[in-house]
Symmetry: C2
């Protein structure tokens, strides 16, 4: 398969690359690195990126950031960072990417455990992850030509514990290579509308 | 109790008013009608509204619109209508309203069945409803002073079947007065972080 992976600079992206590149052709997309550049906050940038790459069999997105911080300092602007980036960045990837997928191709997004299991400081992440998982269920019944869509919902990744460990006390971490299996299941399986929880 | 109800012009708002006004003082807020006017898409407008009303024991929001339409015509701009209105309008209500609630007071938002049970044309509604329910779970562990937050998730309302029936074939409708009971449970009960499904 020819697989477009957006977000290869992160821990998850690298693990997905390691899992899928042994048996598939990977085209790496990132904001400033990768084989082709795109800013997923801008649907025109994504369209231009997909036009350069041409037809593919799968698009995987592991990119997306949100604001973490104290509840008392939350503002609409801090929510907006996550809405523009992790949420609409991935929605844009679906809206722009579907036309470039071969029949039966797949889209795999990244949500996360905070949808169901919230932490202090994580209200925006919870909101964005919940939005993505509901979007996946809805898009799965709308996508044409047998296109499929799923989301991977990881717990905190073991390789990120140095940065995020203090926020996730008591959460069992998953090694990135184990999370990468869920992306493989989405891309190489046949299911659609699913959320693959790795926790 | 003194209860602020945002969105009294809609079917649900009227039913909530009928349920709660028999035993509580209601202050009605709407964009152009009501006792006090506010545009919940603008947090400054909400703050000014809450300042006029003063301290309250509960805020209920039944307002919020999203774009419905064919998948092939979905654009980031059409998602943005729902993000600004039903989603951030209600998040703004929480961010601005919490300071005006008495200790132990409650916030009750409105999500909907499409989070879990999607229909054609409803991708934005699904996304927004999922975001709201995750936000409620997260905000419940962050809110200070014993403040509580829940969401009511109605199926299609019987009184709206003339407009929405064709989109919800096979869905069992709920009378608005039955949905209003869930708002009463949130306001007059003691639970927090819950989604009350009326379906």
């Amino acid at each position: 398969m020819k697989i477009i992976v957006i977000g290869l600079s992160g821990t998850l992206g690298k693990a997905v690359l390691a899992e899928l590149s042994t048996r598939h052709e990977i085209v790496a997309v990132a904001r400033r690195s990768g084989d082709v550049q795109a800013d997923m906050r801008d649907i025109a940038s994504l369209k231009s990126c997909f036009e350069k790459i041409g037809k593919a069999d799968a698009i995987v997105c592991t990119a997306g950031s949100v604001h973490f911080g104290p509840w008392a300092e939350m503002t609409p602007e801090k929510f907006d960072i996550g809405l523009r980036d992790k949420l609409m960045g991935q929605v844009n990837t679906v809206l722009a990417g579907q036309a470039f997928l071969n029949d039966g191709g797949s889209l795999t997004l990244t949500s996360g455990i905070l949808n169901e299991d919230p932490i202090q400081y994580g209200a925006v992440a919870s909101l964005v992850n919940g939005a993505l998982e509901s979007f996946v269920r809805a898009a799965a019944i709308e996508l044409p030509r047998g296109l499929r869509i799923n989301s991977v919902s990881p717990t905190v990744v073991a390789e990120s514990l140095d940065s995020f460990g203090p926020y996730f006390r008591g959460y069992k971490a998953a090694p990135a290579r184990e999370v990468a299996l869920a992306y493989s299941k989405s891309v190489e399986g046949k299911q659609t509308g699913q959320v693959y929880k790795v926790w």
